[in-house]
Subunit: 215 residues, 2 copies
Amino acid sequence: MSINRRLAATTANLLPEHKPPGSPGQILEAALKLFAERGYASASVRDVAAASGLKPATIYAHYPSKEHILAELCRIGHEEQNRGVRTAVLNNGADPCAQIVAYVRAHVGMHTAFPMLAVVANAELHVLSAELGAATFALRQQSEQLLADIIQRGLDQGVFNVPNAWLAVAAIGGMGLRVAYWYSPEYHLEAREVAETYAEFALRILACRHRPSEP
Amino acid sequence: MSINRRLAATTANLLPEHKPPGSPGQILEAALKLFAERGYASASVRDVAAASGLKPATIYAHYPSKEHILAELCRIGHEEQNRGVRTAVLNNGADPCAQIVAYVRAHVGMHTAFPMLAVVANAELHVLSAELGAATFALRQQSEQLLADIIQRGLDQGVFNVPNAWLAVAAIGGMGLRVAYWYSPEYHLEAREVAETYAEFALRILACRHRPSEP
DNA sequence: GTCTATATGAAGATAGAC
DNA sequence: GTCTATCTTCATATAGAC
């Protein structure tokens, strides 16, 4: 990836369900791109307005402050990730190995499908006040706890084997998180391949005793 | 880790060899802490001056611009990482497994020993102009290439087995990078244990055929 | 809802005295 | 080397007309 680029992706995308109609949606998507590429602090309300085809003052008719726009993006990003991993795990039975595969597929899949959302939600979360960030922070912890629970269950059942359970959580979560920075649809690499390979890596990290059967 | 904290570490540290004597060193260390905790764009020259016990104008007697301070920190961080992994690999013979262990130990060790430096060097590198960032960017690519070369050699020799070599580089590099964000010396977790466990995870990702003997 | 105009503060950086 | 004082630009946000 070239220098001067924070992430490889070049387009901001939001699911229709996360993009409100009209100007609020335009603002959100413009802010997503700017916050992801330049960082929250370096992208001004003026920039967001210009990219939305609006004047700066109009932004404040839809969002009380710049921080509220960021809070919304962080919430959407973490909700998408949380919803994805929870649904995936719930749909994949009781086998810890199958659950890990489902979790990592969903986790990595979210980071390839919405790289800008993932970068903003992760890298800028610390900017939010305790009040504005609380909901997002809770989602984040819930997702991490889900991964920790799967791993602990696998350890208890003797199908996983790691020196330190928390480090496995950190390693598997962390490697997935980084995908958002380098992944670009333009690469000769299918998102599906990335997700499958990372799921395999996760099973290897956990020394999983068997490979789950294909769904 | 609490919300509103970008990283868990609370103290900025620079090796004596990287910290120039007098005010330049004070400025560098103060900027390191502020840039790591708040982000480059959110930490002002006034903040750096106050934290260094100087007045804002005095900063400019030592560094031509705020961006030059960041460039220096990015360079130091990447030099430390690059020097560490290169030395480690060179000191550990020709076995790809032993080389991976050496690389990951050094890589993770740098991120636990200098978390603020790692966070700034990685998260803020994109801010630098092509001119100011070129040297750092080259170091970064060299370190990544070293890891890629070790992995490729292991694949060629048949001691590693991965579906995609580049994804193994990204996963192993990425999981180590994230350590800088959550690691804190105050945790009940020795830096040594983190490095050893991540080295083991890397071997597992690569499906290494044997465990290298202890040095 | 969107605009023009503006209030208010803080940013990076410089001039020039000591 | 460090300071005081300041230039200039840009930031977030608001007031009030249409």
